[in-house]
Symmetry: C2
Subunit: 513 residues, 2 copies
């Protein structure tokens, strides 16, 4: 009975928002706005001087992101936006509308096809996830999606531009080339998950004899020049937007910055002040990647203004997962997203909570903030909603356009999944291996599979997930575990397998005594 109730509540919650959304027929007279998805790689919730929490916290004083501050003043800031713990699952969710639990792209994809990126483990084996990523053709080890977001937008008359990091599928798959997924123009997007080099002086990695698969393509005009990758991409993005602007055509720009992913190479223009502030060299370098990305945001906003299209352009700012807080960063491990716990690769807040804002002058109120929680799954239906396109097929999220138009709208509680049945790194602490998470209302439930342990946190009172309430709140734990299991099964989620028995790891509700 309890299961039934929870299920019912869930179903209602899931349908609630969709019902509120008044979609606009694409054939109608609706003037479709341009849409820019400004996606930062590996940027943490705290990596900015613009607070995304309810107060200025210590890390906010470390970074300089004046353009993010400006965007927050001119748009709507989401305190509680979420992505997946790592990048490919978020990126494939963004253009499919489907949860990683459903696409079975639960880990990042290798550049080379048919090659799992999971770390080996003595006890657990990863499920047969789609290791080659996302494709628009039936190909081995890929998730087949015939109607990705850019394809829908293009078919509806949008001029679709991809600039920067794609990372949707491995080399040799259709998904490795953004033009196969509905982008008319692709610049610098392929299978690579990070750049070989951020430096024009190093041709972004294209150095005969030293070139790896991570060398960034298509930026040959900047070779040998002192142009940082973030700047090169920004310039190419602005040049590419000129065509639809000249042709009075609505455009969709997916600007996926390679920044601020490893390698943490400094943008030297910004370095001195961070060193002077006492940061260790890695963190100072990291801060320059952040500031260079912020500069790009400012230039894009300025470009829209100069072209006279600011009012008819929606800018969505987001990151693809939490900030790196494991190996690779400076400072003390697992402090880089403080007060959030852990970081990229983990279902704890540090791994999944992302900086997120939207700006649409005249439609979205300026300088407003919302506590509505949204997930990576919500961007697909939202973008379609903005474009006035009726989506066909199932999507796992809901449009947050009503909140954009009226921030007083309260999105009904619904479960958000952070399902990661893989081992990301050698480290196994802090949810970095074999983990899953769900947010529902104020609650966050974590499943550490190897330990066969459920944890329960009240995020309203415990943002840092320090106080596990699973023992003191057994009824809540039970209800959430059942809802969670239902949603995981509904989406066809995979679980790892115990090597000694060959059996799948238990579902969350099976852990309830």
């Amino acid at each position: 009975m309890k299961i039934l109730l929870a299920t019912l509540a869930l179903t209602i919650a899931c349908n609630m928002l969709s019902a509120q959304v008044s979609r606009v027929d694409v054939q109608g007279s609706y003037q479709r706005p341009n849409i820019i998805l400004f996606l930062v790689d590996d940027m943490g919730w705290m990596d900015t001087s613009q607070p995304f929490g309810d107060s200025v916290m210590p890390l906010n004083k470390r970074f300089h992101t004046p353009n993010m501050e400006r965007m927050a003043k001119e748009g709507l800031l989401f305190h509680q936006a979420y992505a997946n713990p790592v990048c490919t699952p978020t990126r494939t969710t963004l253009i499919s509308g489907m949860s990683a639990a459903r696409t079975h792209i639960t880990n990042w994809t290798s550049i080379t096809p048919n090659q799992a990126t999971d770390y080996k483990d003595d006890q657990l084996e990863a499920p047969h996830w789609n290791v080659s990523g996302f494709s628009n053709a039936a190909e081995p080890n890929t998730y087949l999606c015939k109607m990705p977001l850019p394809q829908l937008l293009k078919d509806a008359g949008y001029f679709t531009i991809h600039v920067g990091k794609a990372h949707w599928g491995s080399l040799g798959t259709q998904g490795s080339d953004p033009t196969n997924l509905g982008f008319v123009v692709n610049i610098a997007g392929s299978s690579l998950g990070h750049p070989q080099s951020y430096y024009g002086e190093q041709n972004f990695g294209n150095m005969p004899g030293k070139t790896t698969f991570n060398a960034v393509p298509d930026l040959q005009a900047f070779y040998g020049k002192e142009t940082f990758l973030t700047q090169a991409l920004t310039q190419k993005a602005m040049a590419a937007m000129q065509y639809p602007i000249d042709n009075h055509q609505p455009f969709f720009l997916y600007l996926g910055h390679y920044a601020v992913h490893l390698p943490i190479q400094p943008d030297k223009r910004f370095l001195d002040k961070y060193l002077a502030a006492g940061l260790d060299s890695t963190e100072a370098n990291y801060a320059t990647l952040i500031e260079g990305m912020d500069e790009s945001l400012g230039q894009i906003m300025q470009f829209l203004k100069e072209k006279g299209i600011e009012k008819n352009t929606v800018v969505i700012f987001m990151s693809d997962n939490g900030g790196l807080a494991n190996a690779g960063r400076g400072g003390v491990r697992n402090t880089q997203n403080a007060p959030l716990r852990a970081g990229k690769g983990s279902p704890y807040e540090g791994g999944v909570r992302i900086p997120m804002m939207v700006k649409w002058p005249g439609v979205v109120p300026a300088g407003v903030q919302t506590n509505n929680y949204v997930s990576a799954e919500d961007f697909f239906p939202t973008v379609l909603d903005i474009a006035g396109i009726k989506s066909t097929g199932a999507v796992d999220g809901s449009s947050y356009l009503p909140v954009m138009k009226n921030p007083a709208v309260k999105i009904k509680d619904r479960p958000l999944l952070f399902h990661y049945p893989n081992r990301w790194t050698t480290n196994e602490d802090e949810g970095y291996a074999w983990s899953s998470g769900m947010r529902f209302g104020k609650w966050k439930i974590i499943y550490l599979m190897k330990q066969q342990k459920l944890e329960l946190y009240n995020l309203e009172e415990d943002l840092g997930e320090k106080h596990d309430l699973s023992l003191s709140n057994p009824e809540q734990l039970t209800a959430l575990a059942r809802m969670w299991t239902f949603v995981l099964k509904q989406r066809g989620a995979q679980m790892p397998v115990w090597k000694n028995t060959g059996k799948s790891v238990a579902w969350p509700d099976e852990l309830i005594k």
Copy 2:
């Protein structure tokens, strides 16, 4: 007086054709056709089963190009079309409308900027030519062209697509990126002049540790697959055309095949029959490159038919210079373009006469051939003419659209230049170093600078340029040398410099006693 007369005749000849062309205002109701420039690299005049001479010659029996035969049946074939002796000069002429003598891009451009590709010589020094190629920005060692052909077409409403080899400028210059020159979409075009590999199995050269600057970009979806480069480019070209087709927009497709340039790697699907025919392995491999290119032509024509746009699409087939007949080919040196003399790199007919056809059902008569001689300079004004765009600024050629519409039209005689004041290879015979050439009427005049020698040929009677008439026709030689010098100077042509004196090599007319 003689000089004056020649000059006058020349000026009249140059203006004659332009005056005949009835241009259509782009603002008018003219339905602009799609334009496809199908450009083959290094394909010789004889590298086809479709004769471009007046009879079937021995080499025509070597090759299998059924789609070229079909195109000849459906369009207009030019017996006497010309390009420059090497590729970059032709390619930069195609998109600038200007003679290589004027742009000072007289040799092929290096991938790395500011690096001349000329071979050193004891006696002569190359002039300061634009070694970094063509650019839309003022950059060192480049020819500045603000209004290249794709830019003009784009500005007039054409959707401009570049697929394949560009080779307009060195890495690090604006000209290295086709999107800077007016192409909305660029696939696989950069500074490289030949592919590192034709094989998808070798990722077209993109193999970490082995990747050179010649690795072909943007074809990642074919990596590891048995897709030959020519096929990959054809598939990408067809996919790219779909966007303007869906949007009822006229398009310009510049499909620059990397084939049939070195490396002569066999397309194994076609190899057996050429080996069985007794060709040596290099020539058999070469024949497969030709046949693969021909297959592409057939697929493009079939695509146009299937999409219902055959009648509104102009296809122009051409090569960028004569066939390679120097080192690198199989067989006996300098026989590969027989009966034409020499090959790529030389101003003799084998180096500059190219296979050329146009097809435009309903406008261009089918199965017709013309003896009108045309040059690389004529394509720019012709394409603009087809698109109904009034060209501003000087161009060195004239539109041959009148001939396309009515092959009975006779283009007035005018001088065509093949100016090559550089040393291409170690070989110095057959015009492969320090040479220049001019065609006027039936006459061909050759200048071998190091030898300080002029040669004169009557192409009507001596297609193979075997009988030098310079001694027996001194008056004709004098008149042509004067006209030639006038045109060279008018276009600002450069000459090499004698190392021992520091003086420029004499102009052709200075050789006349």
